[in-house]
């Protein structure tokens, strides 16, 4: 069996507590220079693509805008189009919500990005039924989960129809003959479906990739099925070995139903990392970063989301209070709700008692340590082993610092991966589909 090549992508640090802003090295979350730094670092490391998340309403806690985490971001595709000017090969992936967009307009914007980047565009398709976010949109949140995915699937298929509606050689300019477009080369799309009704002509020639790369990020059964049918890449939270193997097998199995081969859908968990010159130093760095990510106020805020009530009177460095969770409406808006808060509270209480943890240490413990911790050599080995073991096709790296959070990985881990023969030393193609071996 031939050795699998690892695929790697870089996630711009997100707007939640995992992005550390109190560190002196933390720079602007909105200045274009920060995006340029991260994208150029990713390209220096020959990564497959650069990834931007999206959130269309600021998160709230206890009825007020959450103020403890990094917040504020640009419009994804606009900033990616600008990054196309300062990079050459790096894929440019933007998260854009299908629920609050219309297929014709978004297909046109994605095709524009693919043209302007010469074939490097990707769309991470997300959906929401969140009426809270919908308050920012004329066509606000109104669908349950099953309908959301059905709508998203119809959206993607319609977008593909629009992207395909100009024949490959439609632009055949001949000034002497006076022909700009070949006769009959621009087709008319007529779509009547349950969610969309679109009739007319698309405004752009077929783009370099034909279809921009489609990424899917939901983890539900509907989300997995949607990915198996329509996506090129899955962005998942399943970064641990055993969990990853189960997810990988589950999703790849679904592909046959749609007449697709396993290699046509790349599974890329989002992962975090902490490095050190020795294993001990890496572990210390990991612990230090976790404490930075869960500051005293953030620890209380996490507790409040589970307990559903104001907990600001408690000492974050003290023990978990005896008070019971309030099971009414909850206090958090704009993030995925915690299922069964009573059970989570009981589990946290048991864990805190067993290990004698303070509120803050408990939150540090339960909100997850870094996926990969170690020396550059050991992190490279872990990454390669996950891929060879069938737990992933590669990873989306989520740094904890803007803009320098990827520097050390690219400088120290990528060369080791290259020495192992697990990662490219040069880009061999020009498009993102080339990098992902999707062509």
């Amino acid at each position: 069996m031939t050795r699998k090549r690892v695929h790697l992508a870089a996630h711009f640090p997100g707007v939640n507590n995992t992005t550390v802003w109190a560190d002196p090295r933390s720079g602007s979350q909105i200045d274009f220079a920060s995006f340029v730094h991260l994208a150029k670092t990713a390209e220096r490391g020959k990564l497959d693509f650069f990834f931007l998340a999206e959130g269309l309403r600021l998160r709230e806690l206890k009825g007020r805008i959450h103020d403890l985490d990094v917040v504020g971001r640009p419009e994804s595709l606009t900033v990616l189009s600008a990054l196309a000017a300062v990079t050459d090969r790096l894929g440019l992936a933007g998260t854009v919500n299908a629920t609050f967009n219309e297929p014709y307009e978004l297909a046109r914007r994605l095709s524009t990005l693919d043209h302007l980047s010469e074939g490097r565009a990707a769309w991470n398709v997300v959906t929401t039924s969140d009426a809270f976010t919908g308050e920012n949109f004329r066509r606000g949140g109104y669908l349950d989960r099953a309908d959301r995915y059905e709508r998203a699937a119809e959206f993607v298929r319609l977008a593909r129809e629009l992207w395909d509606s100009w024949q490959r050689d439609a632009i055949a300019t001949d000034a002497a003959a006076g022909t700009f477009v070949r006769p009959g080369a621009i087709g008319t799309v007529g779509h009547r479906g349950r969610h969309f009704s679109v009739e007319g002509r698309f405004t752009l020639p077929r783009s370099p990739q034909g279809h921009p790369v489609i990424i899917q990020a939901g983890d539900s059964d509907e989300g997995r099925e949607f990915a198996a049918a329509d996506a090129d890449v899955i962005f998942t939270p399943h970064g641990r070995l055993e969990d990853g193997k189960r997810f990988y097998a589950n999703v790849k199995r679904r592909l046959a139903r749609y007449g697709r081969e396993p290699h046509q859908l790349k599974i890329m968990p989002g992962v975090t990392f902490a490095l050190g010159d020795t294993e001990e130093e890496a572990a210390e760095n990991a612990a230090r970063i976790r404490r930075q990510q869960v500051g005293p106020q953030t620890a209380i805020a996490f507790l409040e989301q589970v307990w559903g009530r104001d907990m600001s009177a408690y000492d974050p460095e003290g023990p978990l209070p005896e008070i019971e969770p309030d099971m009414s409406d909850g206090v958090s808006q704009g993030r995925v709700p915690i299922k069964d808060r009573a059970a989570v509270a009981a589990k946290w209480r048991a864990l805190a008692a067993e290990k004698g943890l303070s509120i803050r240490d408990l939150v540090i413990e339960v909100t997850g340590r870094q996926t990969f911790i170690g020396t550059p050599e050991s992190v490279a080995r872990q990454i390669d082993e996950h891929v060879q073991a069938g737990a992933a096709d590669g990873f989306i790296l989520v740094p904890h610092l803007t803009p320098g959070g990827l520097d050390e990985f690219v400088d120290r881990v990528v060369p080791v991966l290259q020495e192992r023969g697990a990662f490219r030393t040069e880009y061999t193609g020009t498009t993102l589909r080339d990098h992902l071996e999707l062509t």
């Binding site: 109190a22 200045d31 274009f32 309403r57 600021l58 103020d67 900033v79 219309e102 949109f137 009739e199």
Partner: protein, 390 residues
């Protein structure tokens, strides 16, 4: 005082046959074509470039796709194209067109704010309505009356009292209002990074915009922090009373389309009756150089029809054009948006020769005097409407 000078970029230029003089016309679908044009405009020290767009595909018919194969068909999303050009330029303003009719106001607003961040304060926007029934069918949520029927109403093509068009302008005004509120919804100093209290932002400096209108409502605040200009420059093309009112209500710059100095004076008077603040630019479609009239005639022949335009068409030397611009300036026009008949030729006559002619008459800048578009236009940077007075 310096005249404000902008150029309007669209494909190979504003003559439908202009693409025939490009070496490889298909390059209009490459970033390089646009990068060269905007670099040329910046070398000419122009205030800004606008980038044309429309919701649907180009057509010679009022409200349907045509089957013509001898003209440019296809166009990039203008906001993304402007973003692609921003890192390649450093001083010139970038003003894309974006439709207000079928789009989400929130997305449009953060797109323009992002362009302002990327460009370090050089973003503008030309909001545009989409009245065509054929374009509404690309979204399939609203049914519009066919536009050719609207155009053929007795009384000509001033649509100012057509109820459908009035609604579209009312909606566009709401979109601009929402964008402006969203751009102000983060005060400049909202990000505090206060380690002692663990707070990244001062949430009292973030504001819900709570807009509720006839067509949509938007809660806010924006997801994008306040941009370098605070308020990117809003511009509007206007030919009649209704769009003049739209421009006076929400724009910083209006492009008007008089045919003579006399008409310019009348239009300025009408617009000034609505707003004392608005910067009034005139649009002119220009063919420049010694052989300009002949070049235009040849292109007309190739296209099979004489060029028609909503704006006045000028053919002549850059020196002659400079005289016209100065005459119109005496009528109250403060700047010009020139639409080059063919690029790069007519653009280069503007940037290399017209600017020199104007400079010789003391009417154009010798160097960029500001780093933001508002700065170039002499517009102050406003504080957020939500900021409490000190």
């Amino acid at each position: 005082m310096t005249l404000h000078l902008a150029v309007a970029l669209d494909g190979a230029g504003w003559h439908p046959a202009a693409w025939r003089s490009l070496d490889s016309p298909e390059t209009i679908f490459s970033a390089r074509h646009w990068a060269e044009l905007v670099a040329e405009a910046e070398r000419g020290l122009l205030d800004f470039v606008t980038i044309e767009d429309a919701f649907g595909l180009q057509s010679t018919l009022a409200d349907a796709t045509d089957e013509r194969t001898d003209q440019v068909r296809g166009r990039f999303d203008a906001v993304l194209l402007a973003a692609r050009l921003a890192p390649l330029t450093s001083r010139i303003g970038l003003v894309p067109t974006a439709t207000t009719t079928h789009t989400e106001p929130f997305h449009v607003a953060i797109g323009i704010a992002t362009l302002d961040h990327i460009s370090g304060g050089r973003a503008g926007w030309r909001p545009q309505i989409s009245a065509r029934a054929a374009e509404a069918r690309l979204v399939g949520r609203r049914e519009f009356p066919p536009l050719d029927r609207v155009l053929n109403r007795p009384g000509g093509v001033d649509l100012s009292d057509d109820p459908h068009v009035r609604d579209l302008f009312a909606e566009a005004a709401d979109v601009v209002e929402v964008a402006r509120r969203l751009w102000d919804s983060w005060e400049d100093d909202a990000e505090i990074r206060d380690v002692a209290t663990g707070r990244f932002i001062d949430r009292d400096k973030l504001h819900y915009i709570d807009f509720a209108g006839r067509f949509f409502s938007v809660k806010g605040p924006s997801i994008t922090p306040r941009s370098p200009q605070g308020q990117p420059v809003v511009t509007a093309l206007a030919h009649a009373r209704l769009p003049y009112e739209f421009a006076a209500g929400g724009a910083d710059v209006v492009y008007v389309t008089p045919r003579s100095a006399e008409q310019a004076r009348a239009v300025v008077e009408e617009v000034r009756g609505l707003s004392g603040e608005l910067k009034i630019f005139a649009d002119l479609l220009v063919f420049l150089g010694e052989g300009a009239a002949g070049r235009k005639a040849r292109l007309d022949e190739l296209d099979g029809a004489e060029l028609v335009s909503d704006a006045a068409i000028f053919t002549g030397t850059p020196g002659e054009l400079a005289e016209v611009l100065l005459e119109w300036r005496r009528a109250g026009i403060q700047g010009f948006r020139l639409r080059p008949g063919a690029v790069p030729y007519d653009l280069e006559r503007i940037t290399r020769e017209l600017t020199a002619e104007l400079r010789g008459r003391g009417a154009f800048r010798h160097e960029y005097e500001a780093s933001t578009l508002r700065g170039l236009l002499g517009l102050p940077r406003p504080v957020s409407r939500y900021a409490e007075a000190p």
